[in-house]
Symmetry: C2
Subunit: 366 residues, 2 copies
């Protein structure tokens, strides 16, 4: 049977390996597995949120309030915007999908950084649009602008991943706002800010303000998520914030009930526990320095990270082999081979997890 031609070009996203797989393949007990491959919050989910989930577990039979009334209102007060400026997605991932499906097509193109979140390209291929990438791996706005100006009529969407996954770097917000002024109002600029809470904590200058996007840039959308700092990766809740015209258009391709009843409650509660987020952020950057020191000691290249992960680029050693060896020891890290790099990405864990990771890495590299 024939399917749409675009599918022929599609490859599947390579997700971080789940704990269950390590248990199945290597017979390691779940409690002995350390998963630092998917940038989940190493402190898990806040107790307050876990309790809220337990309270509403009995409502698993009920479809959620598809208007997401309470969640949108909570986000609106947090960011000082209106509820009409918000769309909810099954992870911010799904909002990326909405943007591409709504705006890209076989006749236009999408521009992104040389190495950036893999789903941008995958969704772009869904609709058969062309992909432009900068030669620079990280976001080089001069190069972005060059490519954009040379292909202005063709480029429908620009993705800026700030901070950038899987590399970790981040631009200053002011630089980005200046860039926006150079872009046509017909081009949609997507700020994927899944790690924005981390960037803001490390350096206020990196913080992209959703309200500024709404008020000043009618062609841009801010994406946020509950998967990282808020410790809800498994619940699949993200959001987009933009001018209400953009939100209305994206809303047309949002399916009803795109998040679960329990996820909705979890996200609402998570916004009430900023203390948990702060604790996570403090641990993250404190522990990050240990990885930085380790990298310097072993002459491993890394980009100063504004996220909850650090990416080690190797010269002589083979990153895939290291990831494989660590896996057999029950430690799941992320091989970046599928990004065309001899590198691995490590989520910053709790101190005891980092102890083990660094000890095992040291054994392997010495």
């Amino acid at each position: 049977m024939k399917f749409n031609e675009n599918l022929a070009q599609l490859v599947n996203y390579e997700a971080g390996k789940p704990i269950e797989l390590v248990v199945r393949e290597f017979g390691i007990e779940p409690k002995d597995v350390i998963k630092l491959a998917s940038n989940e919050n190493p402190f898990g989910t806040s107790e307050r949120v876990v309790n809220a989930i337990k309270d509403v577990a009995k409502n698993a039979f009920l479809y959620p309030d598809d208007s997401y009334f309470e969640l949108k209102n909570s986000l609106a007060s947090k960011f000082n915007i209106g509820a009409k400026n918000i769309i909810i997605g099954s992870g911010s991932d799904q909002v990326i999908e909405f943007c591409i499906h709504a705006k890209a097509n076989e006749k236009n193109a999408v521009l992104m950084a040389g190495v950036t979140f893999a789903m941008y390209e995958i969704y772009t291929k869904h609709v058969g649009a062309k992909v432009y990438r900068t030669k620079a791996q990280e976001h080089d706005l001069t190069e972005f602008l060059e490519i954009y100006k040379a292909n202005k009529d063709e480029i429908a969407i620009i993705f800026l991943c700030l901070p950038n996954n899987p590399l970790g770097g981040c631009l200053d917000a002011d630089e980005v706002y200046k860039f926006l002024n150079e872009i046509s109002k017909e081009t949609l600029v997507v700020f994927d800010c899944a790690y924005n809470e981390f960037a803001e904590f490390k350096d206020k200058k990196k913080w992209i303000d959703p309200a500024k996007i709404v008020n000043e840039f009618k062609n841009a959308i801010y994406l946020g998520t509950f998967s990282k700092a808020y410790g809800l990766g498994g619940m699949r809740v993200g959001y987009g914030i933009a001018d209400e015209n953009i939100i209305a258009e994206l809303g047309k391709i949002r399916s009803p009930f795109n998040i679960t009843t329990l996820s909705l409650k979890a996200a609402i509660e998570a916004l009430k526990d900023e203390e948990f987020v702060t604790k996570s952020l403090e641990n993250n950057f404190k522990e990050m320095t240990r990885y930085e020191e380790f990298a310097r000691e072993f002459d491993i290249e890394f980009i100063p990270s504004y996220t909850n992960f650090i990416t080690f680029k190797f010269k002589e050693q083979n990153a895939s082999e290291i990831v494989q060896k660590m896996l057999k020891k029950g430690i799941i890290l992320r091989d970046l081979k599928s990004y065309g790099m001899n590198a691995l990405r490590i989520t910053i864990g709790q101190p005891w997890q980092n102890d083990r990771v660094l000890k095992e890495l040291k054994e392997m590299l010495k």
Copy 2:
């Protein structure tokens, strides 16, 4: 800003009103609201599943095992098929989306019954494909075949909703298998069997066998869900079963982590509690007779239903007005106006819920 042209034609799906809305708008206490608008299981979620959800609530921070290994294996044994024959969706709804996005496009068309599940048309409009509908509201396979033969090169997908939502009727499986033999192997036939457990319980002849689809019909896909008989509407888990070539193609447009960690666990557990399902099915058809008797008494037209709902078609009274009046009393029913009908759909509730609904309806109609 311009968006893809297809979006201009799109209207949003009108979901059943949530309890929260009735609470907000009419100030009625949540415990006093009866929601029989979205075909959720009136017995809620099985206790076993609720406990399983509570047990894994602490894992809300972890992305699910994206291979859905255990769930697929459970479904494979249940249906006597292979794990490779299964794709998991965020509700069977999302598998409908996969089918349409993978196979339909601006140059082809999708065929469906005169009145059937609204999402088929919405997803078809996403990709700009044409919609053919039979004149008959319910599935008339002779008419399906006539339209199909007259437009064979154009029709890429045929949807059969068995039993049919929102009307409730169902064809015999044998009749459907015979129909399939008339269809080109290049046309994808989708069996949306969200209510198949109900049909099977009422009349074995209605049961569509997923294994038969896999083994004999390489161009067909069976869709099932945990939202109805299994009492997990709020958890968003459905599945498609087909030849592995179809599953592989659809897999290319499935996003990673498309169901939540808690939903995965809930679905796995739900398959272990068939007793709960049987209890729900027994109650459903026992209580259904009360609605049928009511309809006869008040001369309301209805189609004998093979589902967990009954649809009342009105002649003189205005169904929308009845739905609105019931809403003010805290009873949520589904107005079928958006389907072009002067009708309302009622989910069969628990006996005490049906007592109240029938009492209020009687007041209104007498």
